[in-house]
Symmetry: C2
Subunit: 500 residues, 2 copies
């Protein structure tokens, strides 16, 4: 058994190497690659994806997993090896349903679609992107077909980001959440909004970057095992626990985008940096799911980064950095300003009270595209009419509407839901942390984040993907994903700010 386990680890190690290489190439593509490199990069990524897929779904891996499965009873339950075999079996059986040729085509189409989307967004030209998106939707439907029978055609997509979660469950969670969010938003809308005009001013790019670095260094982001660069759409990518990279973008006329974006990505990155290094070169050396990942980024961005204790420590520093812009803005005004609720067009700039509505819109459109009740050509109209219905707004162009997100160009259907679920989980985790760490608020107000990060490392990060995400959430918070803690959090916070 030991020998077979070693063989399995050797083979999986090569698959991990190939995927890490894809990660590096993808990072390079979105940060530094010159335009002329795009075509070649598509081929490179396609070839790596194809070989990784072939290697993981090889008969040799299948035979080893079959041989090892009955022997897991000899292993310590939840040991690294036990989890590795179970995780790999689950993934193997899933991937085995997907032909290598499909994976290669999918990678090539999305690599090309990404650059088309970039140009389409720049010129707000949906027609330019439409044929690419049609290819992508067709590929996603084909993908789902490999998993028949399913309860719902969207289930196989969702499962790739949130193992074990079903479309029906997400609908239930969102159906419980929606009326409460809408009611809260309605109550807020009836009150005068705090002023946030000070966020728009001349904030030099380099100073913004310096502040972001100072904040996440204090959070505990490890620069020996990571770096930060600029990209059009901020993201985090890790190649192993020793090399985890974030990107950010800076608007020199607006303060909050880079600031909260950097905290958000650092939340993702500290999750990856916190995985037990013993899991490196195995498929377990990464976060357990997208919702869990988003719970970490949201926790640092919102529950920490938009809180009073955080700013009682950092606001004097920020004022010192931007004396002419913020010298006359009190800490209280600043706190209220950054928590101003506003129905807006852009998801990534949405506040905590409206964000989930952006997600619900996308989820419904994705499900309709997958069910075939909506065609790609009708997507801009469907987007705009829902936008009107949920947020009372009509995008002035497609760049600020249906073209705003990178995800569809990358074939990432099933991803969006996890953003809203991550919000919910972040509040669930926050309640658990506060129960364990009664001094947390005081720590944060003193710029001391070690107890918080250590708690997250211990309870969540170090496990990587050893446990199924829904199990891990239950283990950490005591329940499955549930909207109540998030609603409680929003209600307390905004009741105070808006005097509801």
């Amino acid at each position: 058994m030991v020998k077979k386990l070693d063989q399995l680890k050797t083979l999986l190690g090569e698959v991990v190497d190939l995927k890490s290489a894809q990660g590096v190439l993808g990072w390079d593509q979105e940060t530094l690659m010159p335009p002329g490199g795009a075509e070649g990069r598509g081929y490179q990524l396609g070839t790596l994806a194809k070989i990784a897929h072939e290697k993981f779904t090889s008969d040799e891996v299948g035979q080893l997993l079959d041989d090892l499965e009955p022997l897991t009873s000899q292993l310590l339950a939840d040991s690294d090896d036990d989890c590795l075999i179970r995780y790999s079996l689950r993934e193997y059986r899933k991937l085995k349903r997907v032909p290598a040729a499909f994976v290669e085509e999918d990678t090539r189409v999305t690599s090309n679609a990404y650059s088309v989307w970039e140009k389409a967004k720049a010129t707000s030209d949906f027609a330019r992107f439409q044929p690419e998106l049609e290819k992508i939707v067709a590929l996603r439907r084909q993908y789902a077909s490999f998993f028949q029978p399913y309860e719902h055609v969207y289930d196989p997509l969702l499962d790739d980001y949130e193992t074990g979660l079903k479309t029906a469950e997400v609908k239930n969670i969102f159906n419980a959440l929606r009326p409460q969010q809408v009611a809260l938003l309605q109550a807020i809308a009836e009150k005068p909004a705090p002023d946030d005009s000070f966020l728009k001013a001349n904030y030099p790019e380099q100073l913004q970057l310096n502040f972001g670095k100072e904040v996440i260094t204090r959070f505990g982001f490890d620069w020996q095992r990571g770096r930060e660069d600029l990209s059009v759409h901020p993201f985090t990518t890790g190649f192993n626990t020793g090399d985890v990279r974030i990107t950010t973008r800076v608007d020199p006329q607006q303060l909050d985008m880079a600031m909260f974006g950097t905290m958000h990505e650092a939340g993702h990155a500290m999750y990856e940096q916190g995985v037990d290094p013993a899991l490196n070169r195995t498929p377990l050396a990464s976060g357990a799911s997208m919702a869990l990942h988003e719970s970490q980024s949201r926790l640092w961005e919102n529950l920490v980064g938009r809180s009073r204790p955080f700013w009682s420590f950092f606001y004097p520093r920020l004022q010192q950095l931007f004396p002419s812009q913020l010298g006359n803005v009190s800490q209280e005004s600043f706190y209220r300003g950054i928590n101003r609720v506003e129905r807006s067009l852009i998801r990534t700039e949405a506040d905590e009270a409206t964000y989930n509505l952006h997600i619900m819109l996308r989820l419904e459109l994705e499900i309709a595209l997958m069910e075939g009740s909506l065609e790609v050509k009708d997507l801009p109209e469907a987007w705009n009419s829902r936008m009107k219905e949920y947020l009372g707004l009509t995008p002035p162009d497609n760049a600020r509407g249906v073209l705003q997100d990178v995800h569809w160009s990358m074939g990432s259907f099933g991803y969006f839901a996890t953003y809203a679920l991550g919000n919910l989980v972040s509040a669930q985790i926050w309640e658990a942390i506060n129960a364990d760490l009664p001094g947390l608020e005081k720590n944060i107000s003193e710029g001391e984040f070690k107890p918080l990060l250590s708690w997250l490392h211990e309870k969540i990060h170090r496990h990587g993907s050893k446990f199924e995400p829904q199990d891990l959430i239950r283990k950490v918070t005591g329940t499955g994903i549930t909207p109540e803690p998030y609603i409680r959090y929003l209600t307390v916070k905004y009741s105070e700010i808006y005097h509801l």
Copy 2:
């Protein structure tokens, strides 16, 4: 036949993709990777190298090549397809002798040795690097053994950088060259040296970088298909004709290092950018050999970059950029200063009259290590005694002696000779260009480099690796590699500068 050729191209395309991916990972490793990423990167590179090797040496490729070889008579001689088959056959038969396990071990050992070398050089600690270098020498000797019988144990190493060239030929060339270089150097040493003290002053890093960029932009470096970054040891790497990257290093107290280093790397890069894009995704889409590559970098760095016409255009610009440092230095003094001949310790900073002596030293040591007449532990002493003999200098420490170059840490034995050969070839090509372009000096003095670059593209670059390097050199210059044009060039240039 068409079908088999397509099959071959598909398979070779994947190999090229894997090698390009290795290139990106290598570039990242030496420019931006955080230290924590080193271990994982070693595994990633090892796995990619192993798979590329397996794929290229697969029975499927072998069978296709065997089937296609007799059919090349049906192809247009020297057509892309004809050259592809012949090149691939040669490489296949060579690689087929090397076991995949060797390649993987070699890649892993050298990846690790690289970071050990970096630290050893920083602390001038040869003992730290010695065990790594011993492993590398053993691997190189093992490598040569795969090619028995050979005329000389060093031949197989040389062949990897300069296909078809033999150790005996290089010895002959160098034996003809050495006495003439030594005599010239002796004559120069008897004359007063021009002042170059102005090169050492405060030259702000960013201004140096800006000047380098201005120069290579005028040369014709295409920024849409390339970029420039910083690294410890400057290098050029291309992933296809659309993405060719150079690195440079800047000493803020010294002007010439970054300036000539940037021109040098741009020379390499414009070669890669000039390859016919139709050759992309084939093994032919890169320069034909190291000596040819070095002929291009040296041509731009020295025959262009250290010439009077070049500075008659660029010196006023340089003076404008650094008025306090160069305001009182005449163009003539500047020209003489940058061409000052000086026996020095560091190869990469050596001038045109001494450079080849640095190479001869290394070549002799490499050959001795390969023959077994020199042990790694005795290398610093052997280095220092030859340094004394050839250049009259004793390195004050190993960092400025045996540890100065990156090459051995990367397993690159057989590489150094091509630097000196490149010098010789650059002068051969220069004579051919001047015969074809009588207005060349005038063009250069007007900052007009298009005729020169077009000539190089047409005669050399676009062919990629279609032709064997010795054949291409003969085609372009009329002879094989020969020292006379370089000696002529040096003699004319330095006779004038030093009044010999």
